[in-house]
């Protein structure tokens, strides 16, 4: 009865839920598309970014991936659009758009 967690999106039918909504496997939060709960969406303006990295640690959903000391594009599969990063950025390198993008 356990099904692929990545299929448990907002459109899942009752027939496709796991038995008792059990979740088989660990570290499954990463596979689960919680980004679809988002109301507003941030946009990363690369040209303005100084890579100060103040934004990444304040993100409650670890949705700002950092590689080799540099932040990358938003992980919109997990970003809830809270906008905390916008407030943290000193260089206006993040702006918010209304709606799910």
């Amino acid at each position: 009865m356990a099904s692929d967690i990545s299929k448990l999106g907002l459109d899942v039918k009752w027939q496709d839920l796991t038995l008792g909504c059990t979740i088989v496997g660990s570290c499954t939060a990463e596979e689960f598309d919680t980004g679809e709960w988002r109301v507003d969406t941030p946009k990363f303006i690369k040209e303005k970014c100084k890579q100060c990295l103040l934004c990444a640690p304040v993100c409650p959903d670890s949705a700002i991936p950092v590689e080799n000391g540099k932040r990358l594009e938003f992980d919109l599969k997990h970003c809830k659009g809270c906008g905390i990063c916008v407030k943290a950025c000193p260089f206006d390198a993040i702006i918010m758009f209304k709606g799910v993008k």
Partner: protein, 393 residues
């Protein structure tokens, strides 16, 4: 070879549990079910079972321990009555929604208050909508047989829903009757091993039980849970057919007693059905076409089958051993009427509250119910549709 014995209902159920040899029992004593864990712990101490017994500090803890244990992959059992079941109420819902096929031996007793230790069905009826399968027993033999069949129904892959095996407090739990037990090996082979697909202690697999569901999932989760409960109806029939092959005793969703051509019928649950059958025999001797429908499977409620079985009945009495405090009728009264309405069968129907707190149910008192039905036939007037039987007024 069947073993002839004489046992109380509690002994019979404890012996069925011994033969099932569950992995875990978590239980807290409450009259009149106390004897079941009491007998069972003797089996544990004597090494007759491999069961881990968990003594707990309350029934809420008992059911919570059952949930943890069943989720871990262990076949788990408990027993309770009355306020013990009421204290489990919160977690009964969790056991059902987590789809954990736990078994409760419920010995029916009045809920407080006034505080009382004797039989009625207010405990089981209070938990009737928690998502559990509910099976009721008329006598000690049925309590034993239903317990032997319980896990086969609950653990069926299409069901995976907890089950409550009910018998009447003191009336069957403490009364000693002749009984036919199956051999240990026959029961063991019939029940089989519990092999869930996923469980907490499974090697090389992690699993989370009871996760939070946001608004978007709850309706789908409930609908999926309903399907499992509904599937128990067919599985209960299939298991009963197999059980008949090892025992010679046949069970359905309910029992029809002289109902085939009955004009006057009574729907009843539990030990009072035995008295009702005697009543019907006496009425039949007088040429009155009376019959009984005794509920075995109450949850899921076999509405269509019950309506079909009652379709020829002209005058119907529905007997509730419980005051539901909805101001209108008893729980069985509501369900049977709704089942008949949906099928366009409209016998003249009255609903009784009877036998509360161990109030005697006799051939005389049940005859008076059929007298009331015959009065409706004579006068054409149904009168009060919800009545109390044997109440002083």
């Amino acid at each position: 070879m069947a073993i002839r014995d004489r046992l109380s209902g509690n002994e019979a159920v404890a012996n069925a549990m011994r033969q099932i040899n569950p992995d875990v029992m978590a239980a807290y004593p409450i009259t009149p079910s106390t004897e079941i864990p009491q007998y069972f712990t003797t089996f544990v101490s004597n090494g007759q079972v491999d069961t881990e017994f968990i003594p707990v500090e309350s029934e809420h803890s008992a059911m919570s321990a059952c949930i943890g244990s069943e989720a871990a992959g262990a076949r788990t059992i408990t027993a309770t009555s009355s306020c013990g079941l009421a204290l489990m109420w919160e977690v009964l819902n969790v056991a059902a929604s987590d789809r954990l096929p736990i078994c409760v031996a419920l010995v029916n007793r009045a809920l407080s208050g006034p505080i009382n230790i004797n039989c009625d069905h207010s405990d089981a009826m209070g938990a009737r909508n928690t998502g559990w399968i509910q099976v009721f027993s008329e006598n000690n033999q049925e309590a034993y047989d239903n317990m032997v069949m319980a896990y086969r129904i609950a653990e069926h892959p299409s069901v995976m829903t907890p089950i409550m095996v009910c018998q009447d407090g003191f009336i069957t739990s403490h009364a000693v009757e002749n009984i036919e037990l199956l051999e240990d090996k026959v029961v063991k082979d019939f029940v089989g091993e519990y092999e869930p697909e996923h469980y907490l202690l499974k090697d090389n697999e992690s699993i989370a039980y009871g996760p939070y569901a946001v608004t978007n999932y709850v309706m789908e989760a409930r609908r999926a849970q309903l399907e499992g409960l509904r599937n128990a109806k067919q599985v209960a029939l299939d298991v009963a057919r197999e059980f008949e092959q090892i025992s010679g005793r046949s069970y359905g969703l309910f029992e029809e007693y002289r109902l085939e051509d009955a004009d006057f019928a009574m729907v009843i649950i539990g030990s009072a059905a035995g008295t009702a059958k005697d009543t019907v025999d006496l009425l039949r001797d007088k040429g009155i076409k009376a019959g009984i429908l005794k509920i075995r499977l109450f949850r899921p409620f076999p509405a269509e089958e019950i309506a079909e079985a009652l379709k020829g009945v002209k005058y119907l009495a529905i007997m509730d051993r419980c005051e539901d405090f909805n101001g209108n009728c008893g729980p069985l009264g509501a369900e049977v009427r709704s089942a008949l309405y949906n099928k366009n069968y409209f016998p003249k129907t009255i609903n009784y509250c009877y036998g509360l707190g161990g109030r005697d149910v006799t051939v005389d008192s049940l005859t008076s119910v059929f007298d009331d039905l015959r009065k409706i036939e004579e006068t054409g007037e149904v009168g009060d549709v919800y009545r109390y039987l044997s109440v002083r007024e």
